[in-house]
Symmetry: C2
Amino acid sequence: MGSLPNTPQRLNTVEEYKSFVDKFDTFLLDLDGVLWHGSHVLDGVVDTVDFLRKNGKRLVFVTNNSTLSRANLVKKFERLGIQASEKDIFSSAFATAVYLRNILNFPADKRVYVVGESGIVDELNAVGIKTTGASDDNGIVMTHTDFGKIEQDPSIGAVVCGFDINLNYTKLAKAFTYLNNKEQGAHFILTNDDTTFPAPNGIYPGTGSLCASLITALKRKPLVMGKPNKPMLDCFFSNYHTDPSRTCMVGDRLDTDIDFGAQGGIATLMVLTGVSTEQEALDPEQPIKPTFIIQGFGELAKVKDA
Amino acid sequence: MGSLPNTPQRLNTVEEYKSFVDKFDTFLLDLDGVLWHGSHVLDGVVDTVDFLRKNGKRLVFVTNNSTLSRANLVKKFERLGIQASEKDIFSSAFATAVYLRNILNFPADKRVYVVGESGIVDELNAVGIKTTGASDDNGIVMTHTDFGKIEQDPSIGAVVCGFDINLNYTKLAKAFTYLNNKEQGAHFILTNDDTTFPAPNGIYPGTGSLCASLITALKRKPLVMGKPNKPMLDCFFSNYHTDPSRTCMVGDRLDTDIDFGAQGGIATLMVLTGVSTEQEALDPEQPIKPTFIIQGFGELAKVKDA
């Protein structure tokens, strides 16, 4: 949508909320920090979702989580009392499937070797792409005499890596072997590159850290799908065909959500119910600027009562 | 030993070999590419080892391999017909034990969490350092509901990471949890940072690649022990007390062996029976220069027949 203003517009009044809502047809929504914290849904969020949909707005929930298929993510939304269908969810695993199918025209006779969980396998299979690896290689432990036994597999057209709690050396060695064969030219795709993720008692190594092993061994950069990377937004538009000038990304983190929208040239709304603070957004040294700032996504429900 | 000549001296004649040998009391020897290729011992090597020892020279075999203890490496030497005792072998696992004991004065009431194989555990235990992790965590698979269950362990004073064919997410998550606790201040040590290693049918991800996961997640640099890093040579001198000006590193790779000696300020002999070529060594753009170049380590045996 061309040049965006460099100073974020702070939305404080119901009039400003209404004017903001009127500017857009589609809202891309980050989950944790925008809709909920862990399993606690934030104030006004259910009402805002309801209000926006009743006013004809399309809501798409955008997540870097690749371990669950959209079908399983829908169940999480249901548990938390937010209505969502598979079509309303845009996950990094689904985006990867869209990328392979729509953008790479992944050949029908090739397979994807997956270092990851069922979310990736289910989404790839759902668009007709055959997979191998993943849970098939869970618990397969190599010994030092096995190195000669890992062989090239010409059927592998891509290696897709996401978070995998069953990561093991066998998976790394296979993925490395397939990707290190330059003649075969297999694509190397990460669902996302978050280096850590939050859990109830602290943070843990995330997809970006697990995949650093392969990147280091291969000395080769993967295509990285998830926020804040542009391929995720390219895949979004290739799948949803919404008008970018009427699409707004809503998120709590400057370095992922807001950067994601900014890199893709769409408007962004930063909420203050998550990780990044207003002070960080307004810091003159901060290169990533949201278009709009609001206290919380739940605030927007106040428009319906005005 | 101060400034070394920038142009390598090519040793071609028996007189030059003799003059070279006379300059040194101790030779540090890389293994693969210098002594043998895989299980094939190179020409003249057994005779050269014999000749040098009979002339009062000390030979120390230097390896980044951390998976085997020196006791087990001795068995490999025996199988290949080269006589060696544990005292003649300086491995990255043993160097790490020397570093923790001699340089860090590792506290007696602390333990080391090991991501690695028995070589590290055996060498640490041999110098009286208690360990945990390693094979105890082989095959321990976490689930997504286990994240709350990994707890801080105040007894952990260091995390040592080497090659581990049984690497799994549990090990990474534990190592990350211990190292990410800044108050605890646990040391973070890699036995070596080779990104790949050669195997019979190709190369595979090595220690440096496996540990890239932790480095990426922690955003923290480890102390790296093995060649070409200087701590390995510091530990060598702290353990062997040889005269650096009478010590020469012999190796086939410019980027590991020769750089190792050069960084430590000792003389280096490059052999042409391994990875790096004479052309690479003489390239004006090449920043790493050996002091001497010889066709092969086995050449030196010719001195005894002269």
